[in-house]
Symmetry: C2
Subunit: 249 residues, 2 copies
């Protein structure tokens, strides 16, 4: 069974400089997994217009969905909207729906939208707004590209809106999530490498991953089973347990 | 002043599935920054041979250095060495130096190298070994590509060896690191967006980043100054403080 696939583009000098630990990729990866969308790739790129254009245009042509985070704020280093417009060959405009949402939210807290904040309503022509329950400025969607904020809690609020949209738009999403199960063993992975390879060959629809760890000076292995088919995971686990019993004989 | 640049390729289904939070990118980013190497891009890709080949070949041609993490263990999902060989059009061989190191380390702890572990000595022809003080199996270097383990503490041990090699091989590295300074203000970034843009234009050699945060329901901004020139950072900070004083008038 083929899955829809997606990619993430994290736009942020602060990640590449080592200043900040990214956490957006893991959050989105978890959400995609639960919807049954395969995350094909994630890229962290700098606040560079040409790089954003090139990366967005490359990935939107090979992935069903592209999610970007970062660079939609009001300052000089926020160039994502302008880069996305250029990637799609569109002009920028003040998005009236975004401006209305922002104006209302500002008024509600007794503030007025200043010129800096207004920049956040400037978007490529004809985009669809991604609502944002966390702060005032929305994200936007154009074709298969979803443009979100970089601040994790703001991005997460936007992603909830995207999720509702995706589940409503694509009937195959959500109904067949990826399931994951792990077995932790205190055996080094080299000892079971051959058997695991055979097990993987026998269960092509279960991705079997082997992850070594060391605890109290002893090597162990985390065997991970991932599939859209719960029953196949269970079968693979049973066979794996038989392998372990054989080893202990 | 131009810097040498680098890219990171994290090879790991476990990151893309959401199972594991990557921490290798931040570690390497910090180390590169201290050496004065610009991290141009980081990509997280699956355990897919064709994807590894394509990504390595793309990035090694546009970056001075490429660092890969993951996929050099003994199990079926460890395909990095084989993919790198193919990317460079080389055959795989048992690397005698790696085999010797591993055999000695195993003997030292009273163990014998099993067939599974021996797989970790299979590398592309003619590579240079990257020593590993943490565990037995080394990484390797081929041209400008450095191939490391995925387990963070093992990767970090390998990176220390790479650092020594890089600093010894390139006299321009290490002597001009990137410096970073931050100023935290309790002013929303939209209020100072215009002034920051002017400040950035005045100091093209200082990357000025603006990162909003919210603490106790109040919006603040983290202004980040990054440059190889400490003095320019200081000058930019002085001018920024004048901007703040003007705002408070």
């Amino acid at each position: 069974m083929t899955s829809r696939n997606a990619s993430i583009i994290v736009i942020g000098d602060e990640i590449l400089s080592g200043k900040t630990q990214d956490s957006n990729i893991k959050f989105i990866a978890d959400e995609l997994s639960a919807m049954g969308i395969l995350l094909a790739e994630a890229r962290i790129i700098p606040d560079s217009k040409s790089k954003i254009i090139q990366t967005v245009n490359e990935l939107r042509n090979i992935c069903d969905f592209v999610f970007t985070t970062g660079g939609i704020g009001p300052t000089h280093d926020d160039i994502t909207s302008s880069a996305i417009a250029q990637a799609f060959g569109l002009e920028l405009e003040i998005n009236q729906e975004a401006l209305k949402i922002m104006t209302e939210k500002y008024e509600k807290r007794g503030a007025t939208l200043n010129e800096g904040s207004k920049k956040m309503a400037i978007m490529p022509q004809g985009v669809k707004i991604i609502k944002n329950s966390a702060t005032s400025a929305p994200g936007f969607k154009i074709e298969n590209v979803f443009v979100m904020a970089g601040i994790p809690w703001v991005m997460q609020a936007m992603f909830q809106e995207i999720k509702i949209h995706l589940l409503a738009s694509f009937s195959d999403l959500g109904s067949s999530p990826f399931y994951t199960q792990s077995i932790e063993i205190f055996i080094g992975e080299s000892i079971i490498a051959k058997q695991l390879e055979e097990l993987q060959a026998k269960f092509p629809e279960v991705a079997i991953g082997s992850y070594p760890f060391k605890a109290n000076e002893i090597w162990g292995t985390n065997i991970n089973f991932r599939s859209k088919h719960k029953d196949l995971i269970e079968q693979a686990k049973i066979e794996f347990k038989l392998i372990l019993e054989d080893l202990n004989k």
